[in-house]
Amino acid sequence: MSDLDIDQNTLEKLITKIIKLEKKFANKRGMLEREKRSEIKKLIEQEVEVNAD
């Protein structure tokens, strides 16, 4: 999909936030994979929403 321009700044911000999230998850023993995924997905929707406008 070459017509989609990926903003490097947004990407970098997202990566940092996601890794931080994963670190948090690692300490939460009982958390389901489903829950982890949904949090990450929400984060992506939040961050990318801002730029898509």
């Binding site: 999909m1 989609l4 990926i6 990566i15 996601i18 890794i19 994963e22 990450i40 992506i44 929403e49």
Partner: protein, 649 residues
Amino acid sequence: MLIKSIELKNFRQFKGKQKIIFSTNKNDNITVIKGENGAGKTTLLEAFLWCLYGELNLPNKEKILTEDIGNELKPNDTEDVFVEVNLIHHNKEYIMRRLHSFMKLNNGDLDRVSKIEKVLLKNPDGTLTENIDKEEIYNILPDELSTYFFFDGERIENLSKANREGKKDISNAVKNILGLDILLDAEKHLKKIIKEFEDEYSEDNQEEMKQLKNDLEDLRSKKDNFKQLIETKTEEKEILNFKIEELNEKIKKNSSAQKDQQLREKYEDQIYNNKEDILSLKKDIEKNNKNSFPEFLANKLIDLCSDKINLSDIETKGILGIDGSAIDTIIKRGECICGQKVVEGNKNYKNLVEQKEFQPPASLGTIILQFNSQTSEVKKTGEDFFEDFKGKYISIEKKRDSIENLNKEINNISDRLKSAEDVKSLEVKRETKKDELQKIQNEIIQYTSELNIIESTIDSKESELDKLALNNNKNNKIAIRKAYTAELRKKIKKYYEKKENQIRQDLNKQVGKIFKQLIETNHQIKINDDYTFEVVDIDGNTSTSQGQNVITSFAFIGGLINLAKDKLDDIEVTEPYPLVMDAPFSKLSNAHRENVIKLLPEIAEQFILFTVDSQFDGEVEKTVQPKIGQQYNLKMHMDNKKYTEIIGG
């Protein structure tokens, strides 16, 4: 960290209270524990891990209380099981104690009634500080790294051969030491999220999208199937290879067959190389076709084309690179590129206006120029195509002939070997296995190519889906998010691989260094990206030998320990660490043994060696003797029930 002592009470086959004190002395830092197989060496190791981490990796793991003791208990009687480990770390002595109490029930069963785990610190004045945080033990020796200080015989064997288990061992070590599991988790999550976004695409009335999604579902599960198949077959292949190796060794041992076997192996290598060459030539052909096949064909048409229009005539009138609008700009500016003035009515102006007639879109002369120059490019590109292809094709044929001849030779040798009385049955077995191997290899190739086709179909269908999705605004947003997710995953993967490579290279260096110091001859160890390795001599020829296998293991063990230590190390103090392993000395030559003994201090600061009685006398004992600080015997008793007594100290 050094292990000072381990005390057991009623732990599995260790009846009553028994203690081993390990040598922590710098010079004679070896503790030898002799015992037959089954005497309890594995249990001893497990006792250590149970005490530290509460885990037990033995059959019937609930039954930790010694059977004898348990049987003799009367209803409502209780008895304890404990293991206490004394460690020295950063000059402080830690005592880790784990105790479970069991009570005999009326129905004869044993019930665990309490469990205690305690960490104590022994103060310089002899008093004990209680309630030290359990975390401290994890900081001294984390669970996942403990395995790099304990090596049993089987693991040592696997490491020396870099077989499936050995490779897994090392790749897990790299992963653990890397400690970037978080990134792996993120990548895994992102992969699933991509699919979730895809599922969100609203289909509206698009039947096509629905169909594509279904197709993708099918294809993805097919892909997983094939991946699984390929993995299974690869495992089978490895097992077969191993069996064939064994048979080869057996056949080799027979002196009359030895030369033939060596020749056969040489031919097999040559066949392999030829096959690799053919593959690479075929790839070249494919690339060449991509770049010059159409040009080769077009060449034949060029004459036909020049028949139709006389292009050279028009060519001379246009100037490459300048179009009508450029000329307009110059006229407006009033000055040409060369610096001369351009004013309406003057000579330059008139020239420019005239020239404009020949620039596009006013005139095609310029275009013809372009066309002609591209035509010469086409000519050049296409000219060499045929000779190139021919050369490669002939090479391929020659190599195929070679392979056929070599196969014929190999068959002759195999026939000869078959008729030799003493290796007859071995040969037959070997040939059967080779046929099986060939069949599996073909299956793997077939599955791999089908997998590739499926993967590329998945890619193109995903693209199609994305494109269809864009027809709708809501989907647009989703597509963007999906694209970001894919990019995130890509970046994370790239980073992880970069770091993994760094650690692998470190490991390579460490292993190579230790190997060099241990080996008597000029051999070097060459480790590949997938953790397979070769030991090569000065001429680059591969070699293997029993003693060498042990050296290789040591080199890997040493390398792994160094990696683990690196991870644990404090910046200020270089902390010593122990190595607990099955002693492999009997398989080493004298010279190698001496080198190993000399090198031991560099690998670990404390050695706890398990040995089966018969292995450890005579020559071996002499070399190792000076460094033994403590010695124990695990004596098996076979009275009522089996139990082990620790003798010595």
